[in-house]
Symmetry: C2
């Protein structure tokens, strides 16, 4: 019998307890012995099936040598950071779905895990139940990773899907997402691209081997997106999706989050509703895409439990996960060259004055057009006399 603890009993924490119970046969067959949740750390006791496992005293976990793995589902940095450090110091493996903590403190926590000869694993922090980080670090280990991009946030993808399908305005689609439980009462982290931003930081850390400072990563959400752009893009054969994107550059790397126009024959253009998808470009494999439900109690929890099993089986620890704390070489995404979509208050002549020849999508009081491939820096210079209503990158 292998004992584990869960810290936090929200959606993911409850899911972890459920997966351990409901899939006990599968888990025991693979581990060779049963897995059991012994202790659950909560702030406030509440009735329910796990009442007798609850404690509000972290020491009950920290000092219990029979607990070999701790699943942290508290979220945020404060208590989660503190308890993760102490659990690792106590020689326990730690598994988490906490993308904020991994994005901000992952490098430090991995170094501590290494020092204590235990694992710190976080497959569930990106893509929920979709395997992404293990395939990236393990199955694609013989590749130079050149780019990673993806639809990393299900809430915003649901809102965009509703806008496209029903012609709903952003605010209405957001209310619908909230009514369905896909968006939180305060949806800021989702719709402003912050959640996707944390995930692209983790992907960039692992893909390029250097810490990416989340504060340096430009994060733009979909709250300013207009239905008009969605329709114009669709008419021209593009879908608009909020992408996190990390790119290897000649002397370094960059990462950012922003809405993009995606050609409709790119498989990621067809990813709808709350589904997520991540594309990883290896120099040997080419583009590989991972697709599925990026959130939800059971998918995310099952990824945590798989990491628990992995932590127990990797003896003494998985070596290939980790990255350098050195943040040098991170460049502004304005260095990247792509095509740009513009909608301006003005005429085609105004557009041509700034960008030379462009591909016109609409001339109707406003003018919508696509530029040639240019850098973000050139955009800033050349567009400075335009009255810009919308500006987005086009995925190559």
């Amino acid at each position: 019998m292998i004992q584990i603890a869960i810290m936090g009993l929200g959606t993911v924490g409850t899911g972890v307890a459920r997966v351990v119970a409901e899939n006990s046969r599968q888990i025991e067959r693979k581990l060779g012995e049963p897995l059991q949740v012994k202790t659950i750390l909560v702030r406030h006791f509440k009735d329910g099936p796990y009442r007798q496992l609850m404690t509000d005293d972290f020491k009950k976990i920290e000092e219990d040598d029979s607990i070999r793995v701790v699943v942290e589902t508290i979220g945020g940095v404060g208590a989660a950071y503190e308890y993760t450090k102490r659990a690792l110091m106590a020689g326990k493996h730690v598994v988490t779905a906490n993308k904020q903590l991994v994005a901000e403190k992952g490098c430090e926590l991995l170094a501590l895990a290494k020092k204590k000869n235990v694992n710190y694993l976080f497959e569930a922090s990106v893509g929920g139940g979709i395997p992404v980080l293990h395939p990236l670090t393990q199955c694609m280990a013989a590749n130079r990773i050149d780019e990673v991009y993806g639809i990393l946030n299900g809430t915003t993808n649901y809102i965009l899907t509703r806008m496209v399908r029903t012609g709903a305005f952003f605010a209405d689609a957001l209310r619908e997402a909230q009514a369905k439980g896909y968006a939180e009462a305060d949806p800021t982290a989702d719709i402003e691209g912050i959640d996707a931003g944390r995930k692209i930081c983790i992907l960039a850390d692992l893909a390029f081997g250097h810490q990416v400072d989340p504060d340096k990563v430009p994060m733009e959400g979909i709250s300013k997106l207009s239905l008009r752009d969605v329709k114009l893009a669709e008419r021209a054969g593009y879908r608009i999706k909020l992408l996190g994107r990390a790119v290897r550059l000649p002397g370094g790397r960059t990462a950012y989050v922003a809405p993009h126009l995606i050609p409709e024959d790119n498989p990621i253009a067809g990813v709808e509703d709350v589904f997520n998808a991540v594309v990883i470009r290896g120099n040997a494999t080419g583009d590989v895409m991972f697709y599925g439900k990026g959130a939800g109690e059971m998918p995310t929890a099952s990824a945590c439990v798989a990491d628990v099993m992995e932590a127990l089986q990797a003896s003494p620890r998985r070596e290939e996960i980790g990255w350098s704390p050195d943040t040098d070489g991170f460049e502004d995404p304005a260095e990247l060259h792509t095509r740009y979509y513009f909608r301006i208050e003005g005429s085609l002549a105004d557009a041509a004055m700034s960008f030379g020849q462009v591909e016109v999508l609409s001339e109707d009081g406003e003018t919508a057009f696509l530029t040639d491939r240019i850098s973000g820096l050139e955009v800033q210079q050349q567009a400075k006399n335009l009255k810009i209503l919308a500006c987005m990158r086009v995925l190559p």
Copy 2:
């Protein structure tokens, strides 16, 4: 310096040597020391960059204690089987892309590897460079796997794509695939579903934990597929794809390969050209899809090299890969219930006589229709008086 050997210097073997050389920096960073190909087993010496590494004597590998991993890219069962056994007996890890050998002898070779405390890894045998087997066995380890299906053969998917896009007949599309190097001079294993069949056996072995005997798996290819069915299906909102499919049944499991009608809003319906995609349905994750180039020198080779790295890092060995030799519980796929597509020489009345109410797709001398959900056994009985021109399952 870690030394490895390659057996066979065809497309994949050459790719392995290239990946080891071209991505040496990435590999060394992850392994902590350089990786080097020391010996390559060939049948006939030939000039080229690897001339000085070649031997035609397997003992040069078998008896060389400095060689820790052997990559088998010979293919088939004969020599590949013999040398794999001997390499494992000699205490070396073995990595392969050889789906025939894994499908037929994998269970036995894994047992031998376990006995000798080494790894036998074969990520590249399914999906080429797309991570599929590791995610299935590792990242989704906390799931009960209920179904796996996929486009597992790039050659047939290319032919089908050409038929849909250009209206080419099967024979012409096949010739085009051969001209482009996507299909071999003898294309039997691809177009008759045998290659996809071996892969679905491996997926079923790992997903359900029991050996699936390839001889018991019905394999139907695309050589009898008519352009007329492709067009009728498309008009009704379906794409035809050759799928390998493995399903958990109440008391057991089944697996088979056959062309299917797939609703066009299923992401796998949009998988075109030589791309592969595999969908894995876990009871916690729901459907997860893996997509990318399923073949080719560099993608497949990079998966082999990742397995080499994995074999060296998993100390002493990865425990979670393996399955029972017990083949009991394998059932005929005719047990499955699905909708069926029929094209018959006859009228709608004939169709209704056999199946009651059906969904008519075409009445034009011939009649094309979709049945309700029925079992393959019912199909055999109810359709026995019909003049069947085409009959395919519809993916739910």
